[in-house]
Amino acid sequence: MAELNVSLCGISLDNPIIPASGTFGFGYEFAELYDINILGTFSFKGTTRDPRFGNPTPRIAECTAGMINAVGLQNPGVEQVIERELPKLKTCFSKKVMANVSGFSVEDYAYAVEKLDMCDQIGWFEVNVSCPNVHGGGMSFGTSPEAAAEVTRAVRAVTKKPILIKLSPNVSDIVSIAKACEDAGADGISLINTLLGMRIDLKTKKPVIANKMGGFSGPAIFPVAVRMVYQVAHAVNIPVVGMGGVASAEDVLEMMLAGATAVEVGAANLVDPYACKKIIEELPAAMAKYGIASLEEIIKGVK
């Protein structure tokens, strides 16, 4: 009997499969398709202090084996998430959910996390530090160890729930940033966020997306994700949640061997709304094929 359960920051997951933020809304719409309690958990839509529409459209572009999005954190704001979205989720999801939080200043992050901290439904925070720091010249918090650590300390101060810092892959040295977050009190690292990409429409001779560039995700980025998960998992002593192009049970096994304790599935949900369900169902057969009895045992299996 295949053992799928893993433990993430002290909370047990029935399996390591987590729909990634921004590909699963606040869950209840997917609950119309299948019982979302079969998931390990899911990371809800990136939530900010204030409501946001995000970037102008078009904000999606097709790529070989992937896509670019420049949605720009459209969300109803933390108050509405608490008052409207989480109660809706409660009717169809009995597990702890992962709260994905974004901000444009250190105070933004702390504000949103402090508000959400009172919600019993929330098991973990996943703090997205890929956003531009409006007080720091617009560079992403995630591109400097100092800025990432500052965000980590600020959210650490306002919650006792486990905090995962979600890192941007668009950096020279992912390990130094992960270590800085660990030193600042993070309970885990999740990575990779999207690669910065761009496509140009040959007919209009303009960028496909209105914002010019956007976040590139999908199977195309999987080898970069595996590499960074491996590097970070072997450099920190806190769990790593791996993501980036995962689309199959075999991809999940590869991520876990590289060092992931749990695995998020993003772009695949947008092509197949049943992607996570299928991966969970296919995991036992894939484990059997490769002689794996327990997923916990293969985490960081590659030295």
């Binding site: 921004g22 590909t23 809304g25 995000g54 999606i60 999005n69 092509v271």
Partner: protein, 246 residues
Amino acid sequence: MQQSLFQITENTPLTETVWRMRLTGNTSAITVPGQFVNLKIGGLFLRRPISVCDCVGDTLTLVYKVVGHGTEKMKGMQAGEMLDILTGLGNGYDLTPVREHALLLGGGVGVPPLYMLAKRLIAEGKRVSVILGFNTKAEVFYEEEFRALGAACVTVATADGSYGVRGFVTDAMAGIDYDYFFTCGPEPMLRAVYRATATEGQFSFEERMGCGFGACMGCSCKTVTGYKRICKEGPVLKKEEILWQN
């Protein structure tokens, strides 16, 4: 929403760039005119949304224009091939506001969804007038099909005057005593219709989509009643909801 496999039964050109594909499969999720389906096409990552032209029993009819890599690949598909399709996407048109006489205005590849709409309205005993707009005579399609449905009046407008009324669909509206309208087409046409119509009505919008079923927020737009996802709370918006972005 329903995910299922459809088999292509027909794939033929209507004009040089507009093709019709017929498929059979589980159409149970397609409930109202104006919805769309999302096709998984081999070699492409994102699905491709195509509006439903008609749906009878287990037969789905799609009329699509060849404009990019996705529709290029569709054009090359043969009867017998299977396609993974998400059906029943989008809100579709709300037929209830029509009292007696509905005006349908379609432009180019915005024409197909009006076909199933006209059929339903006529089945409900409404009077239906249709104006179809194209660039030029060679691009005209489905005029006869709308007539065959029993529409009260089918007018074609061509921008270059090579067929029917010279001009845009809004140049062919005079004298039609509709009490409600429905429209689908390129945004400049929708804006013209918005200005040219006096009654209430519904507009079907296009936007570049990620998922097509509400998950990615790729296709959001601002409306009078808040942010809406074109793929989920749309593609049909009521006239009074629309907030045009300059």
